[in-house]
Amino acid sequence: MTALITSKKLTIHRPGTSEPVLHDIDFSISPGEIVTVVGPNGSGKSSLIRALLGHMPLVSGMISRRKELRIGYVPQQVQLDRTIPMTVRRFLSLPHWVGAETIADALARTGVAGLEARQLTELSGGQFQRVLLARALLHDPQLLVLDEPTQGLDQPGMVGFYRLIEDVRNQTGAAVLMVSHDLLVVMRSSDRVICLNGHICCEGTPQDVGNAPEYRALFGAEARGTLALYRHHHDHDHDHDHGPQHDCAEHG
């Protein structure tokens, strides 16, 4: 099966400057795969997502998307404004009108059935993230893109949300590309992890990345926790497709 999105030698600058945010990114995601991008603040995670979606100009390199690729997108921290009245039902019909049954199905699938008539501003953080996910699922996406989808959720909410994403992938077969801060939790549900810091520091299975010195150099103490977790959960062998590529410590 061919990749949904591929990038070659992708380089982008911070908007309005000539300062590179990302350079030489070779990326690809295959159907049904869950790929998580981790990295410190300012490492270019969100920029990578925006570039892959075509929202940011490329300085060099290329991106190819599969023809008529259907993408469901959950952006980072959607700020809601009290001034605009918006029911959950109406929100799911933006920008394309959707029937009541489809809306009910999508809400049920993400565990927030029956919220149609509620105002978005009345939802809890967890409910709102699930409504956003339901909206992203409406048009039968082949790829779900989620930028820090669990920001502002507590630990159980976060764990529940990632479990839901795995369920969605298993039911719909959609590939998932996520950016996350929640190292410990998110890596457990990923097929592949990309550790980013201006360039790709290392990538591979969660276990590979958890063991990689580049990763531990970037995340320090938190990484040791991940490692322990993986010693515990993954004591079997993996195929090593992606080895660590280059050293992160030398990157500014």
């Binding site: 979606l53 605009i84 109406r90 008539a117 893109v145």
Partner: protein, 260 residues
Amino acid sequence: MLDDFLIRAILAGLGLALVAGPLGSFVVWRRMAYFGDSTAHAAILGVALALAFDLSIYAGTITVALAVAVLVTALTARGQAMDTVLGVIAHSALAFGLVAISFVPAARVDLASYLFGDILAVGRSDLVWIWAGALSVLALLVWRWQKLVTASVNEELAMAAGIDPRLERLALSIALALVVAIAIRIVGSLLISAMLIIPAATARRFAATPERMAAIASILAALSVLTGLLASLYLDSPAGPSVVAAATVFFVFAQGVRSR
């Protein structure tokens, strides 16, 4: 029937009310109040130019309002703060407009009617301009409605759906420029943005969806026009300010209602 000045005034006011609901809602949602106010003040320069060169007032105000919208967009794109840019452009346009008008002897007397409107003096040709303008803006908003609402909720979601938020912003700027031009005869340059904001802000408390907010705002604006004209008839108060005062009374009453 159209011979009656009161009927013409009512028709003019209702034309503005029709479009003030939906456009005013966008002004509230996107926090464009200051933008609207500035464009309206700048339109005085358009009045001055029109009088000096013997052009239609509508052509003059539309031109200046559009120029302001384009200039503001261009300057903010270069990294200037929006409210600073608006403050410089709009108020200098108003100042130049007032200076320019002082050189047109016939217009000096008339100045107040452009600042505060003169709805009771609306003629047949004004009615044609007002309704043509109102209907074209309404058509523009209906045509782009889903895209405009999506971009107003969240620009990233809009971009992911293939919508260019800059294009939608431009559509709203054009709509605003047209409405400023048609409203200047009705409520005047100083009170145009009040006619956009107050009914929409009142409607917010009663609406569960964007569409209902826009419709309720239009109804409230129409009621304000009727009440204000009636009040001006009985109290002999200036018509434009009376309409805005009526809208404000509705707003105050609505504060007693539990909001949605």
